[in-house]
């Protein structure tokens, strides 16, 4: 009994780590590689979650739905919807300083939260949407696995795929251009790169990844309400993860997700055990202060994070020439 409880906890722990790691990788593409300040992660996360939920849930008298599409269609829809949102925001702010992007993204996240809470025909408002199925539950059942374990496998699969794609992008010439823009915009422009275009591509790609994270969250949790998309959970934790792990470094994003989620969920246990009863209602704010102070300490003492960014191996000039000859 005890053991299965621990196993169930670990499954849930790693599923959350996986989902947050996907969000952190998406943010890494925007902020870590390109220096674009998206402070509305929660908005993209919410669009992904609700899109996938609406596409897949059975019919309900409380909100639109009943399309009954399979899980993978929901995932694809979520990524497309988030990417379109990213395209819109990126297009508006492409020519402006990154402070404007920050303000615009937090604006879109807050506006989306208002829409989700108020348009109950679409999302059932604050009462939330339920009945979102876990992926391939039937298949995993025949293999003797619970649906939670199955979801963990699906989330891990997506995480591995996203990690390899983002890592490949980082090492590619495209990734080099992004870093060049981040480090020295005029120089990148002088080298003939269309800065706005590259920025937009990175922003849209990162948004799509965040949408994927949102969809996976919806299918794992099975229930969505506007509460889950408060800037605290959706945005702040992801930022702390990326900065603690090391922005610009994809392994750092993964490590940050593990470390910060351990601290965040561990502090819940610790505080419920250590705090006197009169204070038990205060554990929420205390945990936020803990993570917030941790962020400030990291920014002051180790801004590069646990795993600092390292440039990919440079290819000696001769090798490139040889490769071309062979081709």
């Amino acid at each position: 009994m005890e053991l299965s409880g621990i196993a169930a906890y670990l499954v849930s722990f790693f599923t959350f780590v996986g989902i947050y790691a996907i969000l952190a990788l998406g943010l890494n593409m925007q902020w870590g590689f390109t220096g674009q300040f998206n402070i509305g992660v929660a908005g993209f996360f919410a669009v992904g979650a609700y899109t996938s939920a609406i596409l897949t849930v059975p019919e309900s008298p409380w909100h639109v739905g009943g399309f009954g599409h399979p899980f993978l269609v929901g995932i694809a829809g979520a990524m497309v919807a988030s990417a379109l949102l990213g395209l819109l925001i990126g297009w508006i702010t492409a020519r402006l300083r990154t402070d404007y992007l920050a303000i615009a993204t937090i604006g879109i996240a807050e506006t989306l939260r208002l829409i989700i809470a108020n348009e109950s025909w679409l999302t059932n408002g604050v009462r939330g949407m339920s009945g979102i199925d876990r992926p391939f539950a039937g298949v995993f059942q025949t293999l003797g696995l619970t649906s939670a374990m199955g979801t963990l496998i699906v989330v891990t699969t997506f995480l591995v795929a996203v990690y390899f794609l983002v890592e490949r992008a980082r090492q590619s010439p495209w990734g080099r251009v992004l870093r060049a823009i981040r480090e020295n915009e005029p120089a990148a422009e002088a080298a003939g790169k269309d800065i706005g275009r590259f920025r937009l591509q990175a922003f849209v790609a990162g948004s799509a990844i965040m949408g994927l994270g949102g969809a996976l969250y919806a299918h794992y949790f099975g229930f969505l309400s506007p509460e889950a998309f408060m800037p605290l959970y959706g945005t702040f934790l992801v930022w702390v993860m990326l900065i603690a792990g090391g922005s610009g470094n994809n392994k750092g994003a993964l490590l940050g997700a593990v470390v910060i989620w351990s601290i965040w969920s561990g502090s819940e246990f610790f505080m419920s055990a250590a705090l006197p009863d009169a204070w038990s209602g205060q554990s929420g704010p205390l945990r936020v202060i803990l993570i917030g102070v941790l962020l400030q300490v990291i920014l002051i003492s180790r801004p590069q994070g646990l795993l600092p960014e390292r440039a990919p191996k440079t290819v000696p000039f001769g090798k490139v020439a040889n490769r071309k000859e062979r081709a």
Binding site: Y100, I103, G107, Q296
Partner: protein, 289 residues
């Protein structure tokens, strides 16, 4: 005819909201002008000011308007503390790191408010005020005091910025940082004064917002987006533009309730801001961003 009366009534609310937004937006604009970053903890600084003012009233039993100076002292001290403890150490790196830090600070300040004062809803004065009627138009006494206080605060700030050496130094630093520094303006002192003024303005906005409605831990955060919209509309880094920006956003938010759910008010501010970013990103008065 009814529509006209509604319009006048809502415009009064709009001017009241606009004067609150103006105080916040001037602070955001000033901080941007001197320190070159969008201060995301500004809304929660307002909350701190409002709650400190509340505690002062509760402990001393002073008349309501004392919440204003008390809140100003509280928020200015908080801003100084945050600057000395955190922002000061990361100022030398890119300004955008300060932005991340201030976003984290916003959540810390809000959590501190929740810890100290709890999640309850408070108000400065119990009961509902009886409005003054002018024909079919009602004016709540508090609204008059809010507007008056905002005008006084802005006038005092104007005198400070135009008549004192420090005020002139601040404007010089906001206009052209390099030029100001080579003329020997004491940058560190100007930054400290900026935080004190920014904190006081934030508290002004927070206390007046609390007088207009109620005090909740998220009151400042919820108004941050309209404040930024006002600052951008006025041209960020331009304190005087913030007055125009605040009024336009405030009026638009209130008048929109004729056609939209009131809970969409922040979204109206956001839509105007997006339109400004597309059409004229430097704002009405050319900003420094």
């Amino acid at each position: 005819m009814d529509l006209l009366i509604d319009l006048i009534q809502l415009s009064i609310y709009g001017i009241v909201l606009g004067s609150i937004l103006t105080l916040g937006a001037i602070g955001v604009s000033m901080i941007f002008g001197i320190l070159r970053f969008a201060h995301f903890a500004h809304g929660d600084l307002m909350t701190i000011g409002a709650y400190v003012g509340l505690s002062f009233l509760v402990f001393t039993g002073a008349p309501v308007w004392w919440a204003l100076p008390a809140g100003m002292v509280g928020a200015a001290l908080t801003a100084l503390l945050v600057d000395q403890a955190v922002y000061k150490h990361i100022r030398r790196t890119q300004p955008v790191i300060l932005l991340i830090s201030s976003f984290g600070m916003a959540l810390v300040l809000r959590s501190v408010v929740q810890l100290v004062w709890g999640p309850n809803v408070y108000s400065y004065t119990g009961g509902i005020q009886r409005p003054w009627w002018f024909g079919d138009i009602a004016i709540v006494p508090n609204h008059v005091w809010i507007l008056l206080a905002a005008v006084l605060i802005v006038a005092a700030l104007h005198l400070f910025l135009t008549r004192t050496r420090m005020g002139k130094a601040m404007r010089a630093m906001s206009d052209n940082m390099d030029l100001a520094l080579v003329t020997g303006i004491p940058a560190e002192r100007v930054i400290l004064i900026t935080w004190i003024l920014g904190g006081m303005l934030a508290a002004g906005a927070g206390v007046l917002l609390g007088m207009d409605s109620r005090l909740t831990p998220t009151m400042g955060w919820n108004i941050l987006l309209p404040v930024f919209a006002a600052a951008i509309l006025g041209g960020i880094g331009r304190p005087y533009g913030a007055i125009a920006g605040g009024m336009i956003i405030g009026l638009a938010m209130e008048i929109s309730t004729l056609y939209l759910e009131p809970s969409y008010k922040p979204a109206v501010a956001f839509v105007i801001m997006v339109a400004v970013l597309i059409v004229r990103p430097q704002g009405i008065f050319k900003g420094t961003l």
